[in-house]
């Protein structure tokens, strides 16, 4: 909706979003948003790649597992990829990955693929703001913490199985 | 698909012929509709100039009632009178676009135990007939093609301004296309969306008469046999003051003015009384139209 950028308070949770932007379209659009001073939410951190086709699904899973609450991929509109078809490959991977993420119980709005062309600075602002809001509503994903907890549970289980400790009723 | 119909005050008083002919046409074409229960006056152009929010609430009551009456996910509410059409459309639009209006109006509606959830789509019968029902389907039901009749289509301002939902705002063609499909000739004239003066004929009569004179004179000059309207106030203004205009402006205007639904009904072969034709001030002579059965000439 293009509302004014959030002013986050210190010490309160803020959504952390990792964005993979393709050099030719989306990254350029983000620069254009900057040049045009289109203020938006500060929650996303951009990683620049040459093409959305470079984005390996492992990057996305890694981002979530390292603590990202949302992941955004920005590429050129279908038909306009600087490298012809890279964005189609990205689209294919995203479709499959979305299904996997669903099974892992990671909510749909945390992962988004957007087509943003080099002249769409406004769109960058809109998408950043919208996504931040969606993720904010969903709350923190908190995978690193969950991994720690699961690791602890595994440890306890292991010790129990190896009979080194009395069974502990969880 | 069932429509809900909102008659509005005019259609139950001076605009009776509009409702009569509309009902007759809908029945002949088997278009399903149901009258909105417990509808109230929409406030027309007057109320909104006094208090915008209250006016929205008054109109929104009808929209909320429509939602209750119909189970469809999008409730199509037909408002034949152009003023009702505009007021209800404006209310529908403002409630959707402006959260402040929606909150305010729904608070007022809550007091009556009502709430508007944004499911209503306000439609004009012209739009429903030509775009939903379709000209090809209408043509199938035509009994008496209106060959040789020259019709000036007058849209007035409220169906095209400020929202042009189903046609071009400066150069609408829906009624013209309907008229042509019925076999008549649609007169091309540049004044089809010019204001008729609305209620000025009642308040500042010289202003209202002046506007009507321009419309009637040009339509007649272009060879129109009949002027068609889609609004009861336009029809009243254009039809009822022709003698006065002639006296004041030394003109010779003599042009029948009817509702488009009435002419449509004639083409469909519906009896005169069902179309409210007897309520017209000016009789239309159709002897020069050729038609197979030769009965219609006498029916007028």
């Amino acid at each position: 909706m293009g509302t004014a950028e959030e002013h986050p308070k210190a010490n309160s949770w803020e959504p952390r979003i990792v964005a993979f932007f393709c050099n030719w379209c989306t990254y350029t659009a983000a620069d254009l948003a900057g040049v045009s001073r289109l203020r938006h939410a500060p929650n996303a951190r951009i990683i620049r790649v040459m093409c959305s086709g470079r984005v390996d699904p492992q990057f996305i899973l890694d981002a979530f597992s390292k603590g990202a609450d949302g992941v955004l991929i920005g590429g050129c509109h279908p038909g306009d990829c600087h490298y012809m078809e890279g964005n189609y490959k990205a689209l294919r991977r995203v479709q499959l990955l979305k299904r996997m993420l669903k099974q892992m119980n990671i909510e749909e709005h945390r992962f988004r693929l957007e087509w943003i062309s080099a002249s769409e600075g406004e769109r960058v602002r809109t998408v950043m703001n919208e996504m931040t809001e969606h993720v904010r509503k969903l709350g923190p994903l908190g995978l690193p913490k969950k991994f720690q907890e699961w690791d602890k549970e595994m440890e306890i289980l292991e010790r129990t199985v190896n009979g080194k400790e009395e069974s502990v009723h969880a | 698909m069932k429509y809900l119909s909102y008659p509005g005050c005019s259609l139950r008083s001076t605009g009776r012929a509009y409702e009569e002919s509309l009902v007759a046409v809908f029945q002949a074409l088997e278009i399903q509709y149901e009258e909105l229960k417990d509808w109230n006056c929409c406030g027309a152009t007057s109320y909104v100039s006094i208090d915008e929010m209250d006016a929205f609430a008054l109109a929104a009551r009808n929209l909320a009632l429509a939602e209750l009456q119909s189970p469809e996910s999008t409730v199509k509410l037909i408002a034949p009178c152009s003023a009702c059409y505009l007021v209800l459309s404006k209310t529908e639009r403002y409630l959707e676009d402006y959260p402040e209006v929606s909150t305010n109006v729904n608070a007022k509606l809550d007091k009556a135990g009502l709430h508007y959830n944004g499911r209503v789509e306000v439609r004009h019968p012209l739009d429903v007939l030509v775009n939903d029902y379709g000209l090809e389907n209408i043509v199938k039901h035509v009994q008496y093609p209106l060959k040789g009749l020259k019709v000036a289509c007058y849209y007035g301002c409220q169906v095209v301004r400020p929202f042009a939902k189903f046609d071009h705002s400066h150069y609408p063609v829906t009624m013209d296309k309907l008229v042509q499909a019925l076999g008549a000739e649609s007169v091309d004239w540049p004044l089809k969306t010019r204001c008729c003066g609305g209620s000025l004929t009642g308040t500042t009569q010289e202003a209202g008469l002046r506007l009507n004179r321009l419309l009637l004179k040009e339509a007649q000059k272009r060879g129109a046999d009949i002027l068609l309207t889609c609004c009861p106030l336009c029809q009243h203004n254009l039809e009822c003051y022709q003698e006065r205009i002639n006296r004041i402006y030394k003109e010779e205007i003599d042009l029948p003015v009817a509702y488009f639904t009435q002419l449509l009904g004639v083409a469909l072969g519906l009896p005169e009384k069902e179309l409210g034709m007897q309520r017209l001030f000016k009789k239309l002579s159709l002897e020069h139209i050729t038609h197979p059965k030769g009965e219609m000439a006498n029916a007028w």
Partner: protein, 671 residues
């Protein structure tokens, strides 16, 4: 020379730029520098007012030497702007330029966020990510690509003509491809040009003739580019030459064939005269068409439609130039650079129905009137209306289709001036009363405002108000038979009715109808309105984001002839820079296969749109041709065994960036 430091150890120099107030006013740069100093591997961490300036760059070079730095990070503006600058500075300091990483904290942070704390935290996150990334950077050699000296110019209007002549005069071989049967573009249609009222044909035809006769220019008219392959310096272009059914070598343009055609009069609307006259199936667009060769239109020629024509044209031609069997010809050429000068399209006035174009015969577009006032036009320069009358009053309506959110939002820049010009010409030809209806008068060029003053002295009436409608509705006898223009005269606050005999619509300039198809073919971008996108609106107006392709003239945006010519010269100069340097540096971000890890699964083979990947059947491994690889990285992401790597964008680098962004370390407090 490009070493990577003491025993390959990581010694990072981090520099955060104030960029004056641009960054420092929002991001606490000192806090960022202080924070980064605490990160592993960072030897130097400091801030400076303008990193891209000479002292800033020298600071980096000094530090590299003094502190034996092996990695440099600069947190400042966008890499799209200054990555190249800093890489060169690093190289000058004795370090491999690809040990450099840039962090964007201006366009992506200080210019778009207003909360100081959040912006600083973001800058720190991004800096930390870069610090972790550079650990994985490797020394790379810049790719050098040779530039083929020939140039392709697409579009033969004034911009294309000027660019071609400039390059040809510099000794380069130019292919000028134009899809109409003649060059000259829109300018050839004009009568006089503003503000000097030079005759357009008089200044254009000498240039057209120069193009035709220049030994370095290969002129292909009635031709279109159909395929573009390759990359900067090495483009392979396929040009489709449409059949004229005339042998170009033999025709001398005597036009006897046109005279002797079985059609006594033309029946087909003449495109060059905007439909105001008719032409025969065999025709020449206009007498000074270049090349001066006729052509046959198969849609209207009897011989093509029925096969049973007397073919009097063939008889008339003593050069035997007519060839009904001629086929379309495909030509293949190699060029190093391309200039697109494809021009514009006028706004279709029918999209504004209440101005009456197409409805009332005496409503014209400006381009039609250019042909009418032209001595070589359909009426020989006489102002005869479609109904045969001579106009005594004329209304010229500005901004038709422009400055309007219902049609096109932009100002088409030339219409005010050409409307003034037409007002002058119409007065000259007819002595009619002329009314110009305008919103603003945009007369911003050299001698333009003075031209406007002259018009005021000539008694042209100016009414400031956007025209509401043009109709034939007359309210009094004096208005009968005329077109009534209704507009509010905002200077006096009255709605006026001006009855005129003729209405001229100053239609705006739009991108060509097929501009999207063209730009896809050449792999460049368009801006939101549809004009070709320049690399930077102020500093690089003729470059595109695709190396080796330049744009000039109205295809980049509405502009007049002087500006088109200026841009054409600029584009030619940019092309010359590439050609005369002989080679261009490309970022070495290509992909390569680590053969030991490749399993030969073939997944990557079909992924590459440039066919850069092939399979060595003997070794049963994939192999990437570095010359063809453009560095998109799609194959890298697709490889199941991870054996394809992309220089500058290796998996480890990206994973470390992700890690760096999300690592939770307490940020240093800022003010």
């Amino acid at each position: 020379m490009h070493g990577n430091g003491l025993n390959g150890s990581i010694r990072i120099g981090f520099y955060v730029c104030h960029c004056g107030h641009n960054i420092a006013s929002i991001v606490d740069v000192k806090a960022v520098a202080d924070y980064v100093k605490t990160l592993p591997g960072v030897i130097i961490s400091c801030e400076y007012k303008y990193m891209c300036s000479d002292p800033g760059q020298e600071l980096i070079q000094k530090d590299i030497k003094e502190h034996s730095l092996t990695r440099i990070i600069v947190a400042s503006c966008s890499p799209l702007l200054h990555e190249h600058t800093f890489r060169a500075a690093v190289e000058k300091g004795g370090l491999n330029p690809y040990f450099f990483q840039m962090v964007n904290i201006r366009e992506d942070v200080s210019w778009v966020h207003s909360d100081r704390r959040a912006a600083t935290e973001k800058a720190q996150d991004l800096a930390r990510a870069a610090v972790q990334r550079v650990f994985h950077h490797k020394a790379l050699e810049t790719k050098h690509v040779k530039i083929h000296p020939d140039v392709l110019v697409v579009g033969g209007g004034i911009a294309g003509i000027h660019a071609s002549l400039t390059l040809a005069n510099a000794g380069k071989k130019v292919y000028l491809v134009e899809r109409d049967p003649t060059i000259g573009g829109h300018m050839a249609m004009f009568d006089k040009t503003f503000p000097t009222l030079d005759c357009a044909a008089c200044i254009l035809t000498p240039k057209m003739s120069q193009v035709k006769n220049h030994p370095n220019i290969t002129l292909w008219t009635y031709s279109e580019v159909s395929k573009v392959d390759g990359y900067v310096g090495n483009y392979k272009i396929e040009v489709k030459r449409k059949p004229r059914y005339i042998n170009e070598e033999l025709c001398v343009g005597c036009m006897d064939c046109i005279e002797k055609c079985v059609y006594k009069e033309g029946r087909t609307p003449d495109e060059f005269n905007k439909g105001l006259s008719k032409r025969k199936p065999i025709y020449i667009p206009f007498p000074q068409a270049t090349p001066q060769i006729v052509l046959i239109d198969p849609e209207s020629c009897i011989e093509f439609k029925s096969g049973r024509c007397k073919k009097t044209c063939v008889e008339a031609c003593d050069r035997k130039a007519i060839d009904f069997q001629q086929k379309e010809e495909m030509k293949e050429i190699e060029v190093g650079t391309i200039i697109l000068a494809t021009g514009y399209h006028t706004f279709d006035a029918k999209r504004i129905p209440f101005y009456g174009y197409g409805k009332y015969p005496n409503v014209y577009t400006s381009l039609e009137v250019e042909r009418l006032v032209n001595a070589s036009g359909p009426t020989g320069g006489e102002m005869i209306l479609r109904d045969g009358r001579h106009p005594k009053t004329v209304g010229i309506i500005h901004c038709v289709g422009s400055r309007d959110k219902n049609t096109n939002r932009w100002c088409s820049r030339t219409c005010c001036m050409y409307s003034l010009k037409l007002a002058h010409l119409l007065k000259e030809h007819t002595e009619a009363e002329v009314y110009n209806f305008y919103i603003d008068i945009r007369a911003a060029g050299k001698a333009y405002e003075e031209f406007y003053d002259k018009l005021l002295d000539e008694n042209v009436h100016f009414i400031r108000g956007r025209v509401a409608e043009v109709s034939d509705w007359a309210v009094r006898p004096s208005e009968e038979g005329k077109l009534i223009i209704r507009a509010e005269d905002t200077m006096i606050g009255i709605v006026r009715r001006i009855p005129v005999d003729m209405v001229v619509l100053a239609v705006g300039m739009e991108p060509q109808a097929d501009s999207q198809d063209v730009r896809r073919m050449f792999n460049i971008s368009c801006s939101t309105e549809g004009f070709f996108l320049e690399r930077h609106p102020k500093l690089a107006p003729v470059d595109t984001f695709t190396d080796g392709i330049f744009i000039a003239g109205a295809c980049q945006g509405p502009k007049d002839i002087p500006d088109s010519v200026a841009q054409a010269g600029a584009a030619a100069a940019q092309a010359l820079t590439l050609i005369d340097t002989g080679e261009i540096e490309l970022e070495p971000n290509t992909a390569f296969v680590v053969q030991e890890e490749c399993s030969g699964c073939r997944t990557c083979l079909t992924i590459c749109p440039y066919n850069a990947i092939s399979r060595d059947e003997v070794k049963q491994k994939a192999y990437i041709n570095e010359a063809l690889c453009k560095g998109c990285g799609t194959c890298v992401a697709a490889c199941p065994s991870g054996s394809i790597k992309q220089n500058l964008f290796e998996d480890e680098m990206i994973f470390s960036e992700i890690n760096g962004l999300l690592e939770h370390t307490p940020a240093v407090c800022c003010e």
